[in-house]
């Protein structure tokens, strides 16, 4: 009998906290999104128009958020895989130094890191002159463009891509790669047929851990973008905190959450769930 109640005692405080301050707030978010009226006298009235109005007004920002987040995820993957591969197989005694370099950005504040990019990408910076010289910075200007926002997102979420890929590569049985070579597979055949498929759980986890926070982010667009690069996070933030249009903001939040949940579920269906849920929960 004692053994049967023990897990519930252990689970209790944490589960209660998450139910009370994560699940129930989502219910209130949904409720608020169906309110009508003006600020100060909102009342609940199944006002579904909030959703259609909000989506009509802010569809550009919605699409833009997913495009930016998608591109940032793609670039992160392209940058992270070689790095994770090097750390796992080629780094030798440099392994810990490289792992440290990957997590080092976390040790400085997110906002300051993003502001540092504002410095790096400002019009007077040498980086921009170089980019201009190779034709990547039209009119010598990077800041306040989509490129700057995407670069910032890529930078800020890159460690979330590197670490899971590294973890799955490190766990990989090297003998399988050797077997591929023994069977006369070329280096690229071995990579695409053995290494890459075996590291798929890391890639899945990494893309989710990058895409989800990136699509809701508004710090990068705020500091590195212009009014033309606003993402849905910027809209939600400003409706809530500046314009006090709670119902519209809540509706947008709810749609963002639902959209991401659907994307994630579809993605996991194709890619397998072990990466997200942990091995024992497959």
């Amino acid at each position: 009998m004692r053994r049967r109640v023990a897990p519930y005692f252990l689970l209790g405080p944490g589960a209660a906290w998450l139910l009370l301050f994560f699940v129930i707030p989502l219910y209130y978010l949904g409720k608020l999104s169906l309110n009508s009226g003006v600020f100060g006298s909102y009342e609940f009235s199944w006002h579904w128009e909030n959703y259609s109005d909000a989506l009509k007004l802010y569809d550009t920002q919605f699409v833009r958020s997913f495009v930016y987040a998608g591109l940032a995820t793609l670039f992160s993957l392209l940058l992270a895989y070689p790095l994770a591969y090097t750390i796992a197989f080629k780094a030798g005694r440099w392994r810990n130094v490289l792992l440290f370099a990957v997590v080092a950005p976390f040790f400085t504040t997110y906002l300051i890191r993003t502001l540092a990019w504002e410095t790096i990408l400002s019009d007077q910076s040498p980086v921009v002159s170089v980019l201009d010289a190779v034709g990547l910075a039209p009119e010598g200007h990077v800041l306040a463009t989509a490129g700057a926002v995407i670069a910032g997102l890529t930078y800020n979420f890159l460690p979330f891509m590197v670490l899971p890929i590294y973890a799955s590569l490190e766990r990989l049985d090297v003998r399988l790669i050797e077997a591929g070579k023994d069977l006369y597979a070329s280096a690229s055949q071995t990579f695409f047929r053995v290494t890459l498929p075996l590291s798929a759980p890391g890639v899945v986890a990494g893309t989710l851990l990058t895409f989800i926070p990136a699509s809701g982010d508004y710090v990068n667009a705020q500091f590195l973008g212009s009014a033309n690069n606003q993402m849905i996070g910027n809209v939600i933030q400003s409706l809530y905190l500046k314009q006090s249009d709670y119902p519209a903001a809540a509706a947008l939040s709810f749609v963002l959450m639902a959209a991401i949940l659907i994307l994630v579920l579809v993605y996991i269906r194709f890619a397998g769930s072990e990466a997200l849920m942990g091995e024992e929960a497959v």
Binding site: R4, P7, Y8, L10, L11, G14, A15, L18, L19, F21, F22, V23, P25, Y28, L29, K31, L32, A80, P82, L83, Y85, T86, N96, L99, F100, A101, V102, A104, P105, F106, F107, T108, T109, I112, R113, T119, I120, S122, L158, P159, L163, Y166, A167, E170, I212, P213, G216, D217, Y218, V219, G233, I236, Q237, Y240, L241, S253, F254, L256, M257, I260
Partner: protein, 287 residues
Amino acid sequence: MGGAWRWLREHAVQIVAVLVVLYMLIPIAVIFGFSFNDPAGRYNFTWVGFTLEHWKNAFGIPELNEALVTSLKLAVLATVISTVIGTLMALALVRYDFFGRRAANFLIVIPMATPEVVMGSALLSFFLLIGSFSLGFQTLLIAHVMFCISFVVVVVRSRLIGFDRNLEEAAKDLGASSFETFRLVTLPLIMPGIFGAAMLAFALSIDDFVISNFNSGTTVTFPLYIFGAAQRGIPVEVNVIAMILFFFTCAAMGFATWQQRRAEKLTSVRPEQEAGAGVPAGAAAAT
């Protein structure tokens, strides 16, 4: 020429890796460099000249100090609470098979799959509609514990999964009670995992901007101070404090890695030991 080309081709992956590492480290170098800048106006964006003035004056801005103290208090409290209740959850999930286990797993994963802006606005809606919470330190603490719990569970759980239960059996055979076994065997062995989880929670809390921005009321944390100051020009002292926090975290991370190595040595009597040897705590955390 042929030799150099071949060398480049053979080392292409490593070369890309080095470039990516540079990409990751350049902003930190910029923050460090500009902490010695002597800007002409209010904006610390262009290099003017070298000065140690702002390092000497690191704690000379009262509002900044106040924000920093608030952040530290908040992070310590959120870390302690989330680490304790998160560790208990991890124990339940790994050690017991019970009705509702899948639901509990889901409850833990879903906050990590939710964008911060949604969590922040949902909590604000809750606080506004319930009406009995005044926005400020208490709502910040509630929010920070909430988003830290899942990460604590994931880190501690990964440590518990690689745990050799024979060691506990041995303790019991030698006459230890369940509580003694837990305190003297289990806890010391999972301590590096708990410590790593606590460090992660601390880092998440002290760095959080988005959720805090929704639920802070008039309370100002370190990131909120930076956001507010960004409009009117950020004082160089912010860079100095960011670097102090950076070096402090590096030291804590070094300590955690050393602890983990030591714990691995203690349990290395087992031949099949392999639980992520040598991975720094923070890196193991994200897996």
